[in-house]
């Protein structure tokens, strides 16, 4: 038996009362793979992790670990799995005892337990907090201790449920960088769920996009970013502009019935246009092109952030070095084809 677990879900249907909250026909996670599950709030991400962790049994279907169907409720299964939840869930004892407790439950002797707990706290940069009451920690410290507690168990499958939720931007970034560095050194299968694309993509070999309990797309991070399968996925991965368009017989992309500077070899018909805000170029109005009026202009990190309204609302990020558009001014809107994706239908 290897040091990592493979995981398979087959014909999963899960209900909460009359509502079906999860419907996954098949999902295979190879031993050692890092899978990110990306989805909006209420998509069923946490429910999926709970099924994987054996905390709940699916209403129908089977979860297999290393090819063996799991028996929900069994402590033996859970002891091979590390699960760091959204809430740190620390107990009202010292930080060190929080990390030691699950080791004690596994029968690890006192000296080894203490050494493992301190090593895990050191890896997460919080060993100096070992003797502090855990409930007195800040949110960021608590999440680090919670992850140290999961990693101290040396799990073969690590489940991370939005571990950086609730942290401010700086703490979040630093925490996620530390997780990425830690996981790079370790041989374990990881499933990480998040509603934030940047967080999910950072840790993933593959990304599963979950919406309303169903898998919309399962692909590598760059594929999901460059080629989202539908408008929902495009919005989830962060495209600022997801708007309807049409390819005409000449291969010209039309937005609101007017050209926007992109040609395509796709067959004529309706498409969804997914464009980053940095893809938007503004020019003086000219006859026939797609136009919009600058509605709101504000300064952002290294850029002007502009909202333009017309037949479609468009968000643009323009270089800070240039003069900002003036609210009320009308512009021709062009899209950079390198930063724009067309989705069928």
């Amino acid at each position: 038996m290897g040091s990592r677990l493979s995981l398979s879900l087959r014909g999963i249907r899960h209900r909460r009362g009359p509502r079906e909250v999860l419907a996954i026909d098949g999902l295979d996670i190879a031993a050692g793979e890092r899978l990110a599950v990306l989805g909006p709030n209420g998509a069923g991400k946490t429910t999926l992790l709970r099924l994987m962790a054996g905390l709940e049994a699916p209403s129908a279907g089977v979860v297999e670990i290393d090819g063996v169907p799991t028996a929900p409720g069994g402590a033996a299964l859970r002891r091979r799995v590390g699960y760091a939840t959204q809430q740190a869930g620390l107990l009202s004892t010292t930080v060190r005892r929080n990390v030691e407790l699950p080791l004690r439950w596994r029968g690890v002797a006192g000296g080894a337990r203490r050494a493992a707990a301190l090593a895990a706290l050191r890896r997460l940069g919080v060993v100096h907090l070992a003797d502090r009451p855990a409930l007195s920690l800040s949110g960021g410290e608590a999440q680090r201790v919670s992850l140290a507690r999961a990693l101290a168990l040396d799990p073969r499958l690590l489940l991370l449920d939005e571990p950086a939720a609730g942290l401010d931007a700086e703490a979040r970034r630093s925490f996620l960088d530390d997780i990425a560095a830690l996981l790079a050194d370790r041989a374990m299968t990881v499933v990480h769920v998040s509603h934030r694309a940047d967080e999910a993509l950072l840790l993933a070999d593959r990304v599963a996009v979950l919406v309303d309990g169903a898998l919309h797309q399962l692909a590598g991070p760059s594929r999901v970013l460059r080629d989202p399968c539908d408008a929902t996925v495009a919005r989830l991965v962060g495209y600022d502009n997801v708007i309807p368009g049409r390819i005409d017989r000449d291969g010209e992309l039309l937005v609101a019935g007017r050209p926007c500077g992109i040609r395509s070899d796709r067959p004529p018909g309706d498409v969804t246009v997914a464009a980053w805000a940095t893809a938007v170029r503004l020019a003086p109005p000219r006859d026939g092109s797609f136009e919009a009026t600058a509605e709101h202009v504000c300064v952002g990190p290294g850029r002007w952030e502009v909202v333009l309204t017309g037949e479609q609302t468009v968000r643009a990020h323009l270089p800070l070095a240039g003069a900002p558009p003036q609210p009320g001014d009308r512009y021709a809107v062009r899209l950079d084809p390198e930063l724009t994706t067309l989705i069928s239908g």
Binding site: R50, A53, L55, A75, R78, R79, V81, Y83, T85, Q87, G89, L91, S92, T93, L101, P102, W105, R106, R132, P133, L135, S136, R149, A150, L153
Partner: protein, 217 residues
Amino acid sequence: MDAVHEVLGRSALVSLSATAIALLIGVPLGTWLALARVRGRRLLATFVNTGMAIPTVVVGLVVALLLWRSGPLGDLELIYTLRGMIVAQVLIATPLIAGITMAGLQALPPELPDQLRSLGANRRQLVIRLWLEARVPLLAAAMAGFGHAISEVGAATIVGGNIHGQTQVMTTSIVEQVGRGEFGEALVYAGVLLALAFTINALLTSVQQRAASWARG
């Protein structure tokens, strides 16, 4: 008339025994009510909460009818005995302890049981950890149970009979003295009873508050 220390000893014996037994029943019952997801749980929780408000004299009456020599449990010969009084006080304190235990455990973060399971806790380890997390309300439950038991007079009078040298306790003794117009002696007994309640509650409060302030850091 019994010496005050004899009556005090009897009061302490009956109430502490009743509280200990009520804790053994009430804490697991309250835990089950807080954690179980079965039909009828809410109805039982309502019964327990109602039990917290039942007048002790009503409990005394029911227990006396059950323990009466011609009653269904008459063969046990518990009427007018300290053991019979303990039975009555257990019935008085148990709903209080179960209700506070249930509320204390339900006040913990709702995701905590699953978090402990996900860390590998089996059922016994889970319950013990939850009790430790809820130690402040659990100590409050013990104090409330003891306070209810030591201060009640209705059940003690009906079930114990206030027999001198056998079942007279502090509260029944005070009632008897007031009935005889011996207010001075009644006040002394009341002061001693208060001192006993204060001592035991001070001990429990000290443990409780130390636990609470430590957890906050």
